[in-house]
């Protein structure tokens, strides 16, 4: 299909691989370089500089530019963002029927309050006008006013964004390093005791809800042993930029990070393990062995760099899951981040706030994926120059 190897599923990887490794052997494929009539295009012109008698009739053409790749990915991200925005409007303004009545059903309100809320939401205007106002609001950063906090949603999100980034960022780095490292050892020594232990542990972690793991950790280390704080980000009154403050934040960070990491690293381990196993029967490893490399060198220099490629895309996709996992973990540990804010908004129910956190969460994830696509291009020469 379109780009080589954006599809994150490891099984897909082979399709672009064989396609590019075998130029000119598939005349039925119109995009195959083989159907390039020789003598046309810059590639063949350059080839005439080759030594006489060795002109390659099947010289493959050069690859596309970075700008084009970037624009295509940017276009994809923009489409996703537009879908999020439309979905945000559709879900919060259209689906509930009358959002104000819905709020009114869950909290006692007088008719006057209802009317006031209604004009505040602009519900008395036609749908098209509402949608336009909503669009203008998003572009100007105005996401409406929270019903519960009585504050502007954008201000609230700005306030709570930092802690979430700190939590998910730390968890992501640890999970990636741990998962990829254990995954490659697991695959290389498959069916060893280490592999069996690592695989079954990760299966167990994969089979529990993130928040339950959080609750268990909270129970053991916060409740029973009382080694670590049970909630919040910092002990009130401490200056977060002082040394003691930083240590305090770190102790608050440990439990939520561990619960997030436990579930996600297991997925990374399984992905890394599967894609390395996939690489292990490849012919170029035989070439490397025939050259006299040790098994360790074969793994480090040849197998792992190839296995990392499909893994990277999947890993970045799962970061979205990690951010979603933050909703429950922040709720369990009262971590003052966007997840906690979402949790409060659900309990409200505070639809403007929920809409705001949804749009912001989605935007973060879409930007992360765009970044992943760009990083990927630098990692995989086949995407870079094909």
């Amino acid at each position: 299909m379109s780009t080589p190897t954006h599809d994150p599923h490891p099984e897909d990887r082979r399709t672009p691989g064989t396609g590019s490794a075998n130029p000119g052997t598939d005349p039925a494929d119109p995009t195959s370089p083989g159907s390039d009539p020789a003598g046309q295009g810059p590639a063949s012109a350059r080839d005439s500089a080759d030594a006489p008698g060795a002109v390659d009739a099947d010289e493959p053409p050069a690859g596309g530019s970075f700008a084009r790749y970037f624009l295509r990915k940017l276009g994809g991200a923009a489409t996703s963002m537009i879908l999020v925005i439309v979905l945000g409007f559709f879900a919060f303004r259209m689906l509930p029927g009358d959002p104000v009545l819905k709020i009114a059903k869950e909290r006692p309100m007088s008719p006057a309050q209802i009317a006031e809320l209604r004009s505040q939401y602009g519900l008395d205007k036609p749908v098209i006008v509402q949608f336009w106002d909503y669009l203008v609001g998003i572009v100007t950063g105005d996401l409406g006013e929270s019903y519960v906090y009585r504050k502007s949603v954008s201000a609230l999100i700005g306030e709570y964004l930092g802690p979430t980034l700190l939590l998910t960022g730390t968890a992501a780095v640890i999970a990636i390093v741990l998962g990829l490292w254990l995954g490659q050892i697991s695959a290389w020594r498959r069916n060893s005791l280490f592999d069996k232990l690592a695989s079954s542990t990760s299966l167990i972690f994969w089979s529990v809800p993130t928040f339950w793991l959080g609750l268990i950790l909270l129970m053991i280390f916060g409740g029973t042993l009382q080694w670590l704080p049970t909630g919040g980000m910092i002990t009130p009154g401490l200056d977060p930029w002082s040394f003691a403050g930083i240590i305090d934040v770190i102790t608050h960070l440990i439990l939520p990070v561990v619960s997030l990491v436990a579930v996600v690293y297991a997925q990374f381990l399984m992905i890394m393990r599967a894609s390395l196993l996939e690489e292990m029967n490849e012919d170029y490893l035989t070439t490397a062995r025939a050259k006299g490399l040790t098994e360790d060198e074969v793994r480090r220099k040849h197998a792992v760099p190839n296995a990392l490629l499909p893994t990277v895309t999947v890993v970045f996709l799962h970061i979205g899951g990690l951010i979603a996992g933050a909703v429950t973990v922040e709720a369990v540990f009262s971590w003052p981040g966007l997840g906690k804010l979402t949790f409060e908004a659900i309990r409200g129910p505070d639809l403007p706030l929920l809409q705001g956190t949804f749009v912001v969460f989605s935007a973060i994830i879409i930007v992360m994926n765009l970044a992943a696509d760009i990083v990927y291009r630098f990692l995989d020469p086949r995407v870079r120059r094909a």
């Binding site: 000119g24 039925a28 060795a54 690859g63 094909a386």
Partner: protein
């Protein structure tokens, strides 16, 4: 210098499945004295690859080796892992099939050559600078620009990758080079370049060469001695001229038959086979003047990422009743696209004319479907052309069902299978494709087309993916279909020998254009166009180490 000896080698793969242990190689003894060139020919499953992997102890752990493999008089099994690593590439190196996945896709090819030098510096390539110089020197040896060293494998063509593999094999100045199907999947012209290059480099350095291939002609063009393997056993061994031109064993004769000498009247319209198809008509059909399928000024373009490309340019073709027309060209010449567009599977450019029996090709989906009853196509790979989950009956009946032909289904299927000479047809009806051999599968595919009673068969490389010994059978079936049923056929191939074997007329395609078109006898005996001459010259001939000596 180092000798390589296989002494009574047997290799068994232990398998946990119900089939038990699989014997891949059985009691093979072969000698490769220093400086010799030896070719091992065999079809898939003959054990030839397993045998050569044992020379450097590269077999998987599940393989058990009996007998002795001696490298320079030393049993490779007795070496420690460190010792065998030192021997690998320094004493004996392997040229793998470069066109496939033998190069690491994410590392620059120059680095992959240097890596070998780092492990076997032999006191010569001790510094990064020296290794880099050596790498450039090697690239020059195999006629590649220095700039290619920073290319990734996917940026190179099949021929270029193969040359990188050869450069890499030469890097540490080994005594023995083992070449594993070095030209499979390459075009004949590129193949000739690679083979002559390899033969020259090996001869200059006095390196001994052990080459394996399924292609007897390729081996005999380069190697002085030939060994034929089948089902893990050595069938025949001798000087390559003797083995190719005066084979003793039936099996060798079959293999050699797959490479007709173009211009040899004995093989003209007579593919060599042990099992020729039956011609039952007292007066077999021969080529007529009645035009069945015609193309005028046919052009096809594709939109690709690099802009619009014309795959077929202004082709004029005529297929008459009971004519076999061979369209010969290298991969990328547009011949498959041409075939697909004749079938209406491919959009053509404005101004292209295609007609069947005097009427232009229909455009609407429904009319096209009816048209396809008349013109059928056989695809390249019979294994892929059959749904692995469907039985032979279901495969043959598919066309009838799709076309809405409901009456006498069973008789039609059996009749088609018998016309394709898969007899007795009843025995095969419920087989699934995996239970059939390559030749049988191709017969099922042909029967599937015949069930619709077509007037024209278009075949895309009908024998390219089959073992050489089956080739003659299938080709003779095409001849028999023409003679018995008066069927016309357009056969797409890269193999000039095939045209010589069965075709009435031949069209030579290059870069989407037909450069030469006419009767087979005339075109192949007296080629006018430069490209046809080049193609003919590149076809490896049996015996006489032609590529080595002609240089």
């Amino acid at each position: 210098m180092t000798d390589l000896q296989f002494e009574d080698v047997s290799i068994t793969y232990r398998s946990s499945s119900t089939r038990g242990d699989v014997v891949a190689v059985e009691n093979v003894s072969l000698d490769l004295p220093a400086g010799a060139t030896l070719g091992i020919a065999g079809e898939s499953g003959s054990g030839k690859s397993t045998l050569i992997m044992s020379a450097l102890r590269l077999l998987p752990k599940s393989a058990r080796l009996d007998g002795r493999v001696l490298l320079g008089g030393q049993d490779v099994r007795e070496l420690s892992f460190g010792q065998i690593r030192a021997v690998r590439w320094a004493q004996a190196s392997i040229v793998f099939q470069g066109a496939l996945h033998s190069l690491n896709p994410v590392r620059e090819v120059g680095q992959q050559i240097i890596e070998a030098l780092e492990h076997h510096s032999k006191g010569t390539w001790t510094t990064p600078q020296k290794r880099q110089d050596r790498m450039f020197e090697l690239l020059a040896e195999v006629n590649l620009e220095a700039a290619k060293s920073s290319a990734y494998p996917h940026e190179l063509s099949g021929g270029q990758k193969q040359r990188i593999m050869i450069a890499m094999a030469l890097a540490c100045e080994p005594d023995i080079i083992i070449a594993d199907e070095p030209t499979t999947a390459l075009d004949v012209i590129v193949q000739k370049q690679i083979l002559t290059g390899l033969a020259r480099l090996v001869a200059e350095r006095g390196i001994s060469l052990l080459m394996i291939s399924h292609d007897l002609a390729v081996l005999s063009a380069v190697c002085a001695d030939l060994a034929i393997m089948r089902d893990g056993r050595l069938v025949e061994f001798g000087p390559s001229d003797e083995v190719c031109l005066a084979p003793r064993e039936d099996y060798t004769k079959q293999l050699a038959g797959a490479f007709p000498q173009i211009g040899d009247p004995e093989s003209r319209l007579r593919p060599k086979t042990q099992r020729p198809a039956e011609v039952a008509r007292a007066e077999p059909f021969t080529m007529t003047d009645e035009v069945v399928l015609e193309a005028k000024d046919l052009s096809v373009s594709f939109d690709t990422r690099r802009g619009r490309e014309r795959a077929v340019r202004g082709v004029d073709l005529v297929l008459r009743k009971a004519e076999i027309l061979a369209v010969v060209g290298q991969s990328g010449s547009g011949k498959t696209t041409l075939a697909r567009s004749l079938l209406g599977l491919q959009e053509v450019e404005e101004g292209s004319q295609r007609s069947f029996a005097g009427k232009p090709l229909p455009r609407k989906a429904k009319a096209l479907r009816t048209f396809r009853r008349q013109v059928q196509m056989i695809l390249q790979d019979p294994a892929g052309s059959l749904n692995p989950k469907r039985s032979v009956y279901e495969a043959v009946v598919e066309g009838l069902r799709v076309q809405g032909i409901r009456d006498r289904e069973y008789e039609r299927v059996v009749g088609a299978l018998e016309a394709a000479e898969l007899t007795p047809a009843e025995d095969y009806l419920e087989s699934i494709p995996q239970e059939l051999s390559g030749g049988q599968r191709q017969r099922v595919v042909i029967a599937g087309a015949l069930a619709l009673d077509p007037q024209v068969l278009i075949a895309d490389e009908p024998v390219a993916s089959l073992d050489a010994s089956v080739r003659g059978e299938i080709l003779s079936l095409f001849l028999a279909l023409k003679k018995n049923l008066g069927m016309s056929a357009l056969i797409i191939t890269h193999d000039l020998g095939l045209a010589w074997n069965i075709a009435d007329t031949v069209a030579v395609m290059k870069s989407g254009e037909i450069v030469e078109y006419g009767e087979v006898d005339r075109v192949l005996s007296d080629p006018q166009h430069e490209y046809t001459q080049e193609l003919l010259a590149a076809v490896p001939r049996l015996g006489s180490q032609s590529l080595v000596r002609n240089e």
